[in-house]
């Protein structure tokens, strides 16, 4: 869970220190206080969300909206569930083992899902040229074109001259 979340936050462009997972038992009040104080100090040093990462509010919002969509996409959920099952079967719970499997199985799906959600968001506001898409998502042409083609095959978008736009419902 933590590793998958970290990979998503990394791709969104957030500082990974903003997310921490830690343990303190019911009897460890002083440890708990230390964890909370430490974490608050870290966030205070980092500053407000987005500003510290050099993301402007518009991009940050777009990326987080895309991440939010990704997290409920059935393709991602299925891969996430399968990965959990695979980890259980392999019985390898070392951080390195988990990282390697997440990298191999989930990161490509996360990348593609994020980009697809970003494109859908941008297109939902009206026609967009491919250059504007490239600029706003910061992705490569080779990554974007197959997604656009897949979406237009599904009949969700269409190309008109230089711009892509959502397909009008008949």
């Amino acid at each position: 869970m933590a590793e998958v979340t970290r990979r998503i936050l990394e791709l969104v462009g957030l500082n990974l220190e903003r997310f921490r997972i830690d343990w303190a038992s019911a009897a460890e009040a002083p440890l708990f206080v230390k964890i909370v104080t430490d974490f608050t100090e870290t966030i205070k040093k980092l500053g407000p969300l987005g500003e510290a990462e050099g993301l402007d509010p518009e991009t940050l919002k777009l990326r987080l909206a895309a991440a939010r969509e990704l997290a409920s996409q059935s393709r991602f959920r299925a891969a996430y569930g399968n990965l959990a099952r695979e980890l259980k079967k392999a019985g390898d719970y070392s951080p390195e083992g988990i990282r390697a499997r997440v990298e191999q199985k989930l990161v490509p799906i996360i990348k593609k899902g994020l980009l697809e959600a970003e494109i859908k968001h941008l297109l939902s506001k009206g026609p967009v040229s491919i250059d504007a898409l490239l600029e706003k998502t910061g992705a490569n042409q080779e990554d974007i074109v197959p997604i656009l083609e897949a979406l237009s095959k599904k009949g969700q978008i269409e190309k008109q001259g230089d711009v892509w736009q959502p397909k009008a419902k008949e």
Binding site: R20, A29, F32, V33, G47
Partner: protein, 65 residues
């Protein structure tokens, strides 16, 4: 004015939440920036929750088991 971060915390009912309780009883001082959500177990937490927290404007997310 100094930056006052918003931190969302997910605490396990049996561990960190109880630790927070006993920290209160023992009158330990700690920063007031946390908004706590109690879950019955840390295993309940999904990447979706954390992304939603950042989307809603949290500056940091702490998961305590």
């Amino acid at each position: 004015m100094a930056f006052d971060p918003k931190i969302l915390s997910f605490f396990c009912h049996w561990c960190c939440y109880a630790a927070a309780d006993s920290a209160g009883v023992a009158r330990y001082q700690y920063p007031p920036n946390n908004r706590v959500i109690r879950v019955m177990c840390t295993g309940r937490i999904d990447p979706r929750f954390i992304i939603e927290a950042f989307y809603a404007g949290a500056d940091g997310v702490l998961v305590g088991g």
